[in-house]
Symmetry: C2
Subunit: 440 residues, 2 copies
């Protein structure tokens, strides 16, 4: 394919993309295929002679689309949003063309891991300074990291990778960690000879969008020489709205902070932004300088070598799409997007509260509603099974205080009030059928 053909095919692809997104609602949001369906539809080997472009594009619809979960369908309410916007897509086109390899952006999981590794390195150095006879292995075996019992699975995984102990801190009735809860565990662990070194706070937990009390937790961590990392993967985007800023009080005590613009800021996956209070802490943890990566400015302080901030060496040119989106939407446009989606969640909350058969299970602060049928976990599992089976909308569950709970997250940029209404009608219809069956 030469440049001339790319000009023709590229323009067709632009129309194809616009058609796909304009008509996405007509597609079933969730695929109706069995695992392995793809195997019989594609050859076992790559073609020796080139295929035609027409055949490939036909196969996109025939082979690929049946297996796709349409994350940008207005009927998609699962997990958290995966951002997308036309300007970001334009930027990605340019980004593909430039194709340069940047050498701190990974994902929130990586940000957590990187902060934990930096904290581990700092803690070992601190203890060895006080007691130079202690071996690294001995210190490592005493280090303890902490996080909320509601924190994302990637936090526990970071501790596993870093070969350090991790303890879960219990939460209050709103699923948030408070200072006194962490303090109690710290006292016990220090008395047992352990060395607390890291706390990962969450602003906007995955199950219920709870906010840990960082204004209490921060001073405690600072006093105990513990690194405080804040994982605000989803909720972080909302802090561009002044009305949500109070939830960020205490951020000044944090050593590092991360959020994912690819979740809720209209920038397509992947794009995750990390701040570090003292960048030498991060860089010191795993800096490597082979000759082929040396450059003139590395000791000048003028250049930030993000390769020391992440696990991979290379990174994509993600700032380009962020820049397009900031400029095409403006702060007002981005705020309007956040507020609209929070508003839709509140509308859904009202619909649930008006139905006595249902209950709301956690405060609705942002774009996530946790709800369930009053009754057993089995009943709610059956309801979710019906919802999943019908393929009209897509939801995932969570566990809150032992209860099986349904999570409705406002995800798609194109979700409107009518989609919320339709979703609720659909859920109540299935609930009605389910309760009827139970009566018989």
């Amino acid at each position: 394919m030469d440049a001339a053909e790319f000009r023709r095919r590229g323009k067709e692809m632009v129309d194809h993309v616009a058609d796909y997104l304009e008509k996405i609602e007509e597609r079933p949001v969730y695929p109706d295929v069995e695992p392995g369906y793809l195997r019989s539809l594609i050859p076992t080997e790559a073609p020796v002679e080139p295929d035609s472009y027409e055949d490939i594009m036909k196969d996109v619809e025939r082979v690929i689309m049946p297996g796709i979960t349409h994350w940008h369908s207005p009927n998609f309410f699962a997990y958290f949003p995966a951002a997308s916007s036309y300007p970001a897509m334009l930027a990605d086109m340019l980004c593909s063309a430039i194709g340069c390899i940047g050498f701190s952006w990974g994902t929130a999981s990586e940000a957590t891991l990187v902060s934990l590794l930096a904290a581990r390195c700092k803690a070992i150095r601190r203890v060895q300074l006080l007691d130079p006879k202690k071996s690294e292995a001995e210190i490592l075996s005493k280090l303890v990291a902490y996080t909320s019992e509601q924190a994302h699975s990637s936090v526990e995984r970071a501790a596993l990778i870093g070969a350090v102990m991790m303890k879960k801190v219990p939460t209050d009735s709103l699923y948030a960690v408070r200072g006194e809860m962490l303090k109690k565990i710290l006292e016990e662990d220090k008395a047992a000879g352990l060395i607390p070194f890291y706390f990962c706070a969450t602003l906007g937990t995955t199950p219920s969008c709870a906010f840990d009390h960082i204004a209490d937790l921060g001073p405690l961590c600072n006093q105990e020489n513990m690194w405080m990392h804040i994982d605000a993967a989803y909720a972080g985007s909302a802090f561009i709205c002044p009305e949500f800023r109070p939830l960020l009080n205490g951020v000044e005590y944090a050593d590092s902070f991360n959020f994912n613009p690819h979740k809720w800021m209209l920038i397509n996956f992947d794009c995750s932004a990390m701040w570090v209070k003292k960048r030498t802490d991060i860089i010191g943890a795993f800096k490597m300088e082979p000759l082929y990566l040396k450059h003139e400015n590395q000791e000048s302080g003028l250049v930030t070598d993000y390769r020391h901030w992440q696990i991979p060496l290379g990174r994509r040119f993600r700032s380009l799409k962020m820049w397009f989106v900031f400029r095409m939407y403006g702060l007002q446009g981005l705020q309007a997007h956040i507020r609209k989606q929070v508003g839709l969640a509140k509308e859904f909350e009202s619909l649930v509260r008006a139905d006595k058969r249902f209950e709301i299970c956690a405060p609705v602060v942002m774009g996530l509603v946790c709800f369930r049928l009053k009754g057993t976990n089995e009943l709610n599992q059956s309801l979710l099974k019906k919802i999943t089976k019908s393929r009209e909308i897509h939801l995932v569950p969570c566990q809150l205080s032992g209860s099986f709970v349904l999570r409705l997250a406002i995800c798609s940029r194109s979700t409107e009030f009518r989609h919320i209404q339709q979703a609720w009608q659909h859920i109540t219809q299935l609930a009605f059928e389910l309760l009827q069956e139970h009566h018989h």
Copy 2:
């Protein structure tokens, strides 16, 4: 921006991308800006009101392009190639539109880390089975990983992250590790009570594209219960050509293997492929199953949950661009690409060998030529400085047996013989000037 505007702007962008790539040779390959140049060209805050698209596109040229290193210029010979092709770009457009979040592909650095963590987990379990009284911390402090002294910096970094010791194995005169070299160190380390558990072999090292002798190393690793990972980040793509397959002999002993199609297989960054002999080894090392990630098929064996294979939870839909490229080029087209680039490297080698002032420093097996002026390291450093300063071509150096060596890698898809000739003329002209200065 609505779908209608996206249709218009998208088509403009397609032309913009084609123009950029057709005229890329006219741009200086390496930027002539000082670090921080961007700061004064952009506002300190995101705009409150949207900017116009026209202004943004003007700024791409005014603000962004002056700072870009043009990785796809035929004058770019640094590092290793960053893949790009028109079909991959088309796929990336569609990929952006679908914007689904896959939950095993990261980069080669990540593949190395993941294999090391899996090996660490396996080794700890194995030792504890034989001696249940040994604590995890005690075992961890005795584990040793090994790699070539020529291996990529990311290998050493993986050991640092995994909190295990790593030792560098010396290489032969061709910069490759041989079985007997590893064997010697293993005997010493075992006698000292250490536990060897992991060896990272390289096929195509970054400095000189050397190939470790995996046919000797593999049986040794298997016999010693050590995990053998193969990092073939660059050279791996060449194994689609039968004439390069003998370099892969011994791969059957490996526990894991990785290469980067985004280096040399025309698939734009990022795209890295990893194979694992026994996938339960990888999955067992850090599997996490929160309720919101559970799905019907997870225990059926029909689905490969790649999220257990990588550090981040999400991954981009990278297989799409691989699929476009395989189909649009066919195996023949991809082989022709590899062979053409190896041929260009051989042409450059001939030019260097014909000039008595220069020497070739390592065998030219693939698309990389290591060469230098006969003389001191200072002389070669001065030559590279002149090359970098002239901005006509872009090279990076490496260190081989204490010598400062220049690396010319065939990178761009559009590099032709005339670019090689021009590059050599340019280098010899600068060398002539340099040697004249030295005489005075």
